[in-house]
């Protein structure tokens, strides 16, 4: 299982709704999973200034993400992605003491 990033264009005038897009993406992923191609939508990040909603997926192949997106009526560029939550968390933990001013 690998991770993929779906970049969906969201026109500024549309009134950005990251949760709504994520709901649709999850529904598309669930539908495809039910058909035997497991796909999970893990996270959504809306960057309004860029008119883009980034949706992080876990899937067997990029094609599965494209299919899940199509089922959700979403267009977007799909790219391979690498995430490192543990590394970020460790970084926060290490910097917090010096940044908190409470040492």
């Amino acid at each position: 299982v690998a991770k993929f990033l779906l970049e969906v264009y969201v026109a500024a005038v549309a009134g950005a709704d990251a949760e709504g897009l994520a709901r649709r993406a999850r529904a598309g992923a669930d539908g495809l999973s039910a058909a035997g191609r497991p796909v999970r939508c893990l996270q959504s990040i809306l960057v309004a200034a860029e008119e883009t909603c980034f949706l992080l997926f876990e899937a067997g192949a990029a094609e599965d993400v494209r299919e899940a997106a199509a089922r959700a009526d979403l267009f977007g560029r799909v790219s391979d992605a690498v995430t490192d939550h543990a590394g970020c968390a460790a970084g926060v933990s290490e910097t917090r003491p010096s940044g908190s001013g409470k040492s």
């Binding site: 264009y9 969201v10 026109a11 005038v13 549309a14 860029e50 008119e51 883009t52 494209r66 199509a70 009526d73 267009f75 977007g76 560029r77 799909v78």
Partner: protein
């Protein structure tokens, strides 16, 4: 990131499209990088009249029908493009575009479209489409189109 062979195939497909005829390899490479490929099944709705812009779409293969207020207005085929009107004027999509056959599209968002419109052959195709749109509006006896135009434009 595309592999060289994959990129070469993509560029060859782009080279054969009417709006990109005469483009250099460098220009085609730029179009390839600025757009991504999407496949649409028959019956799939690409843009919806009254909704916000969904992007710029260049038809690589397949056919679509354009409807306005439920009435068929036009047919779109390989080499034509749509979606630029709402990207340019920020108003809602002026028409609904529905796939009649399996379609392969090249898609760009607003920022990518702005850069795409600077690629020489694409710029000319867009200008020709806008000119055709203006001529149609005159032929229809309508007033000169402005930023609020609701006509959809396309090019062969």
């Amino acid at each position: 990131v595309k592999k060289p062979a994959e990129r070469a195939r993509a560029i060859d497909r782009l080279r054969s499209l009417p709006p990109l005829r005469g483009a250099t390899d460098k220009e085609l490479g730029r179009v390839d990088r600025l757009t991504y490929e999407a496949e649409i099944s028959p019956g799939g709705v690409v843009t919806k009249e009254g909704e916000s812009a969904r992007g710029f779409f260049l038809i690589v293969s397949g056919r679509a029908i354009v409807t306005v207020a439920g009435l068929e207005r036009d047919a779109l085929e390989r080499g034509m493009f749509f979606g630029e009107t709402a990207l340019l004027d920020g108003a809602p999509e002026p028409a609904t575009v529905t796939a009649l056959t399996p379609m392969r599209l090249r898609v760009a968002n607003r920022r990518e479209f702005a850069q795409l419109s600077q690629v020489r052959p694409m710029a000319r195709a867009l200008l020709e489409a806008l000119a055709a749109q203006e001529r149609r509006s005159f032929d229809d006896g309508a007033s000169r189109p402005n930023a609020q135009s609701t006509e959809i434009s396309h090019s062969r």
